[in-house]
């Protein structure tokens, strides 16, 4: 019990640090950029539960993220629901979608599963584009609620994002170290052998797709309040698909630390590039770094560290 408490304590310390940082009011851009980086910590961590632990590569991250975002838009539009409701509802809708693609794994493995998730993203985007109530293809402005508990709304969202990132990482870490994580690793290595060694592979895969989907949806739920204008092209942006995959790959997919390292490094680099060079540099940077890692260090930064330590 004692040992289980330590990561929780660390998580609380991180959240507290986030709140303190929000209180000191440094340059507002820091919070703005910080939100994006933290959002990517959640996305990369969530993606890795399915892609890293279970080995099912999901190219449909935008679909899950946008499900969270558009569930929020719908709830804001229809009942001006408060942020906590948006987070939970966005997560649940994306979790349902996750459960759905979980059943796809019955028939689709490897690259075929990935193609299906990519197609899913395209299909959902088309549907949203034709749904006028949430703005259709023109998009929709969202008014932020007045009077956040402290500071500006973006500083408030920053602290929320710190909290979400901590929760996502704790969930991933828990899964990784439990019997679930060991079962997922077995089915990633060899699904048939895992099943024949008593691992209920279908149930574990459904668990992974659902939890991963839930966290991706949660990451997307604050999006309307963050950007205040939601349209399909930004909610279903290719950036999410590429980053969600690149960040864990660069950090290392076998441990919860990997996606965090990848998201912080790559997310920060992208934010810096956006300010100093141009916003178009974002995906270019990811592309170059990803290719370099896949060729030179396929096990990511964690793998490099392990190799340097001589293990």
């Amino acid at each position: 019990m004692r040992r289980a408490g330590v990561p929780l304590l660390v998580g609380l310390v991180v959240v507290a640090a986030g709140i303190v940082l929000a209180m000191v009011r440094v340059n507002p851009y820091i919070y703005f950029a910080g939100c994006v980086v933290l959002q990517y910590v959640v996305i990369a961590t969530a993606w890795n539960i399915l892609g890293g632990y279970a080995g099912y590569v999901n190219f449909g991250t935008p679909a899950f993220f946008a499900m969270g975002a558009y569930t929020a838009v719908f709830l804001i539009q229809s009942m001006r629901a408060p942020l906590p409701v948006l987070l939970v509802a966005g997560g649940l809708v994306a979790a349902l979608l996750g459960l759905g693609i979980g059943y796809l794994t019955l028939r689709l493995r490897g690259v075929f599963f990935s193609i299906a998730t990519l197609a899913l993203s395209v299909v959902l985007q088309t549907m949203i584009m034709n749904w006028e109530y949430v703005g259709g293809s023109r998009g929709m402005s969202v008014l932020r609620p007045s009077g956040p508990p402290f500071g500006s709304y973006v500083t408030f969202l920053f602290t929320v994002m710190v909290g979400l990132a901590v929760i996502a990482v704790l969930v991933a870490r828990f899964i990784e170290r439990s019997w679930i994580g060991r079962g997922l690793a077995a089915l990633r290595d060899n699904e048939e052998a895992a099943e024949c060694m008593g691992v209920p592979t279908l149930r574990l895969k459904l668990f992974a797709t659902t939890v991963s989907g839930f966290l991706l949806g949660v990451a997307g739920a604050p999006f309307p309040y963050y950007v205040t204008f939601v349209e399909p092209n930004s909610a279903f942006a290719l950036d999410y698909a590429v980053n969600a995959l690149a960040m864990p790959m660069i950090g290392g997919t076998t441990s919860w630390v990997g996606p965090v390292i990848g998201a912080v490094l790559l997310g920060t680099a992208q934010q810096l590039a956006t300010v100093t060079i141009s916003s178009e540099m974002n995906l270019f940077i990811v592309g170059v770094v990803l290719v370099a890692f896949v060729v030179l260090a396929p096990e990511g930064i964690l793998g490099l560290v392990r190799r340097l330590r001589g293990r």
């Binding site: 019997w179 060991r182 052998a193 691992v199």
Partner: protein, 240 residues
């Protein structure tokens, strides 16, 4: 007479228009050393894929320990005690040899994890003769060690029926003897064993009873001595 441990009744398996198993019936008694032979493509591996649940069947029933298991998913059959090895070893490549055994210990062996699981795994590795390699990844193992890992991992699932699918193919004759010794020892511990093998010397020495498959049908059954004299078997292997 005690009911058989495994009872396969009229098993049919088709792949599209091709009938791989055409009404195969056989039964295996508890504690028996049972051999399953037949020429290439006769349906041996398909049969054990059906018995272990990896492939759904198109007809017939499979009963294990008096219970119908025809529709059960593989992991539940494993938990009941039917454990198989793979013809081409399928180790968990990201794990050490010891961790490989941890998976069935945790999942098939009714929640035995942690330190106790580790000692169990250590014991199994010692019996199989793989304890020196416990902390290596499968990539660092030789062919025979890989086969031994398959067997060790199957042992960790606590089988009552062990199905060994060509555990000796490609091994040298001393290595074959090595594996045979292990299988004899497991059988002496009370584990029923079905051996699928091409190496006649091994299967004839090991089996108490043999069933011969040819083109998806059962063509003979008997003791090794009866099988070698059976004209139908000779025809299946050598032609007219």
């Amino acid at each position: 007479m005690a009911p058989p441990l495994l009872e396969v009744q009229g098993l049919v398996k088709r792949f599209g228009g091709f009938t791989a198993l055409n009404g195969v019936t056989l039964s295996v008694k508890a504690g028996e050393r049972f051999g399953l032979i037949g020429p290439n493509g006769s349906g041996k591996t398909t049969l054990i894929n059906c018995v272990s649940g990896v492939l759904p069947v198109n007809g017939g029933t499979i009963r294990f320990d008096g219970r119908e298991i025809t529709a059960l998913p593989p992991h539940q059959r494993t938990r009941l005690g039917i454990v198989r090895t793979f013809q081409i070893p399928k180790p968990f490549t990201s794990m050490t040899v010891l961790e490989n055994l941890g998976i069935p210990l945790e999942y098939a062996g009714a929640g035995r994890a942690g330190a106790e699981g580790n000692t169990d795994a250590g014991e199994i590795l010692k019996t199989i003769g793989l304890d020196a390699k416990a902390h290596l990844r499968p990539a660092g193992l030789t062919q025979i060690e890989m086969r031994k890992l398959e067997l060790a991992r199957a042992m960790a699932a606590r089988p009552t029926l062990l199905i060994s699918d060509e555990a000796m193919a490609g091994l040298s004759s001393t290595e074959v003897d090595d594996i045979l010794t292990i299988l004899f020892r497991l059988n002496a511990q009370g584990i029923t064993i079905i051996m699928i093998e091409h190496i006649m010397r091994a299967v004839m020495r090991f089996s108490e009873r043999i069933v011969v498959l040819d083109a998806g049908e059962r063509i003979a059954e008997g003791t090794p001595a009866e099988i070698v004299r059976d004209p139908a078997v000779e025809k299946a292997y050598l032609g007219e």
